[in-house]
């Protein structure tokens, strides 16, 4: 049984010119305790998906136009705002790319942590809250936690700020932690620390993680299963092992080929995907990837590829996915 099921989720945004459909029939499931990687480039809809799950779509511009998000037997989309508040931070928590924008710059770290504690665990006394705050910071690997509580966010490094955000997300151990590009702004050695921390917390608490990133290498590192998104649609889904061993969608193949390899020969031409991501105002008909796809044929322009159950519990949205299998053989 899945912990979370996103069923045919569609989301539209109103812009000055028109209404654009930024998510189109997005489908995936999340099992208890697993790490699901959601990968794609800027504008593919990966962040909008997470905001929709959290009920945090910017209003009134963004709205869900179809689909369901099933969590604990209920459709989260039917929840009233106060019901959502009881889910957020308790059952589903979220951390963002730039903790500086998520933390209040003019309040000390301690005050912010204790404010969340007061909100989520009002039964605790001030002393207990202080004690829990110190424990939480200690748990996420912040040295001298008592000292840090009296500091402002700008006095902490990027890695430390992200640790504070993770500490806040752990006030209630959530069923699901949504991490939206949590290491993108960090240096690699700090990124390694944070990835290790998230994996460790997951082992301890058995929470499920939705890890959103543009970095396929990070996905390979932490994800059990991967959803690849392109221009608001799911291109393909597979376990991490399968996806990297044999990508079925031409977009996934292109992405994997574009990464410079550490063992490759320097100063040789990299493989590229021609052209660029289309804007939502100018989406091609049929398959949204067809303008950049080397496999594209007439059918791709006229018909949106169905999301096939391709093979071995893998899904792919490409009319000609079977070519990928033949390519390898």
């Amino acid at each position: 049984m899945s912990l979370l099921e996103v069923q045919n989720l569609s989301v539209s945004f109103d812009t000055d010119e028109a209404t654009v459909e930024v998510l189109d029939n997005v489908v995936f499931q999340l099992a208890k305790g697993e790490t699901l990687g959601v990968v794609g480039e800027s504008g593919c809809g990966k962040s909008v998906t997470s905001l929709a799950i959290m009920g945090l779509l910017p209003k009134p511009a963004g709205r869900v136009t179809g689909g369901q998000i099933i969590f604990g037997g209920d459709n989260l989309l039917s929840y009233r705002p106060e019901q959502m508040r009881s889910i957020r931070g308790r059952k589903i928590s979220m951390i963002f790319q730039e903790p500086m924008t998520a933390l209040n710059p003019v309040q000390r770290v301690g005050r912010q942590l204790m404010e969340s504690l007061q909100l989520h665990r009002p039964e605790t006394s001030k002393d207990e809250q202080l004690k829990i705050s110190v424990e939480l910071l200690d748990r996420v690997g912040i040295p001298e936690p008592r000292q840090r509580l009296t500091e402002y966010p700008h006095q902490l490094s990027g890695g430390m700020r992200q640790r504070v955000m993770i500490a806040m997300a752990l006030i209630h151990v959530p069923d699901i932690l949504i991490a939206d590009e949590p290491t993108t702004a960090l240096d690699v050695t700090i990124q390694a620390q944070i990835l290790e921390l998230i994996a460790e917390l997951q082992r301890e608490n058995g929470m499920a993680v939705i890890f959103i990133t543009h970095d396929l290498a990070v996905i390979a590192e932490i994800a059990d299963r991967v959803v690849v998104m392109y221009a608001g649609r799911v291109a393909e889904e597979a376990t991490a092992l399968e996806l990297f061993a044999q990508p079925l969608h031409p977009y996934t193949q292109g992405l994997l080929d574009s990464i410079p390899s550490l063992v490759g020969i320097p100063k040789t031409q990299l493989k590229t995907i021609r052209g660029m991501v289309p804007s939502f105002a100018n989406m091609p008909s049929g398959c949204r990837f067809r303008n950049r796809c080397e496999r594209a044929q007439q059918l791709c322009a006229t018909e949106v590829p169905k999301y096939f159950d391709a093979k071995d519990a893998r899904s792919v949205a490409c009319h000609f996915w079977q070519d990928s299998v033949e390519q390898v053989q």
Binding site: E41, S42, A192, A217, A220, V263, P266
Partner: protein, 365 residues
């Protein structure tokens, strides 16, 4: 100024930059940020040096001092035999024909109120190279070949022609000339930044995180463009980035920086196969690999980079180094030759194990 007299296009000796830290209503200097401390390297024509290191290691400061956008505290930067540090304004202006820079976010370095035509015409106007925009040798050639045709064009028309040539060269449509920077995507804007940098046919381009903000599929396009241009124009590149995989892919040699020092230099192949400095080893082991079947033995460094205002005594890495000995906190290790084309600044590099044998449980405190 020919090639024989100066085998190196660029020679950097003992480059040092301290920024004063000022406090108070009447600002008084209370300390110094040791941004770059005694950095030396050389670069040949057509060669690429990758500068890698984490935030605050001083790699961007090095890049900016090469164009003297920042004046170094000490040291010399010799470009084609002349010291950039001692140049006057006129000489500097001439220098910037030969040395250009591309930034991470072209949106901030392109004037948002100018059309692309104006942005790309400016180098020719500033350097008074309207009619005879080519370098002197090519100018002579051109005069011989199609003297008549050249004369027919007015300076403005000549510039126009150049702008279209540039746009074509970087893979943009000619119609781009009439548009403004905000009308382009990140990758296209970076193409405009590159077009402007190559306008005057420079000999050296500093790429400061030039592809870091781009999506993977666009990043590979821009990397290919830079590699093409380098071959075509015999360009030397200083490629500054925190993404080691990209740096390794474009560079001939790599210098790893930590807290203002170069801790290791090597060829771009060897730095991955045989990193010698403990910091380089940790840095490389931290890079995620896009292959779930390969799990590197990761060296997790404890804590953050120390403050560059009071960098640690002795070896600056000793506070996070798992091999540190008492000597490391007293004495700074010099950058010494470790192989035919590699230098390393560590007292014990010869006794360290290579990362293949490293295990994850060894962590410094």
């Amino acid at each position: 100024m020919n090639d024989e007299a100066h085998p190196h296009l660029l020679e950097v000796h003992g480059l040092t930059k301290f920024f004063p830290v000022k406090r108070g209503v009447i600002p008084v200097s209370v300390g110094q940020v040791h941004a770059v401390d005694n950095v030396s390297f050389t670069l040949k024509r057509g060669e690429t040096l990758g500068l890698v290191g984490e935030s605050g290691c001083g790699k961007s400061t090095v890049g900016k001092t090469l164009l003297r956008l920042i004046r170094p505290t000490e040291g010399s930067v010799i470009f084609e035999g002349r010291d950039i540090v001692r140049m006057n304004r006129r000489e500097l202006r001439a220098l910037r024909r030969d040395v250009q820079i591309i930034f991470q976010d072209p949106f901030e370095s392109l004037n948002s109120r100018h059309t692309v035509r104006k942005i790309l015409s400016e180098p020719f106007i500033i350097h008074k190279r309207g009619l005879n925009a080519e370098r002197k040798q090519t100018e002579k050639l051109a005069r011989k070949e199609d003297a008549k045709q050249q004369k027919k064009l007015s300076p403005k028309a000549e510039r126009e022609k150049k702008v279209y040539e540039l746009l074509n060269r970087v893979g943009l449509d000619e119609s781009a000339a009439n548009r403004y920077p905000h009308e382009f995507s990140g990758g296209q804007r970076q193409r405009i930044g590159i077009a402007r940098a190559i306008a005057l046919k420079p000999k050296l381009i500093v790429c400061d995180e030039a592809v870091s903000a781009l999506d993977v599929s666009v990043q590979s396009q821009i990397v290919n463009l830079l590699l093409d241009l380098q071959k075509e124009m015999d360009l030397a590149l200083i490629f500054i980035a925190h993404d080691l995989a990209v740096v390794k892919h474009v560079s001939d040699k790599i210098a790893v920086m930590y807290l203002g020092n170069i801790v290791e230099t090597s060829t771009s192949e060897n730095i991955y196969l045989a990193p010698r400095h403990p910091y380089t080893q940790a840095l490389i082991s931290a890079i995620p690999i896009a292959d779930p079947t390969r799990r590197p033995d990761r060296i997790i460094l404890k804590g953050d980079v120390p403050s560059p205002i009071q960098p640690p005594e002795g070896c600056r890495f000793h506070t996070r180094c798992r091999y540190a000995q008492p000597r490391c906190s007293e004495e700074a290790p010099p950058l010494e030759q470790a192989s035919a084309r590699g230098n390393v600044a560590c007292f014990f590099w010869n006794n360290l194990k290579l990362p293949q044998t490293q295990t994850q449980d060894v962590v410094s405190t």
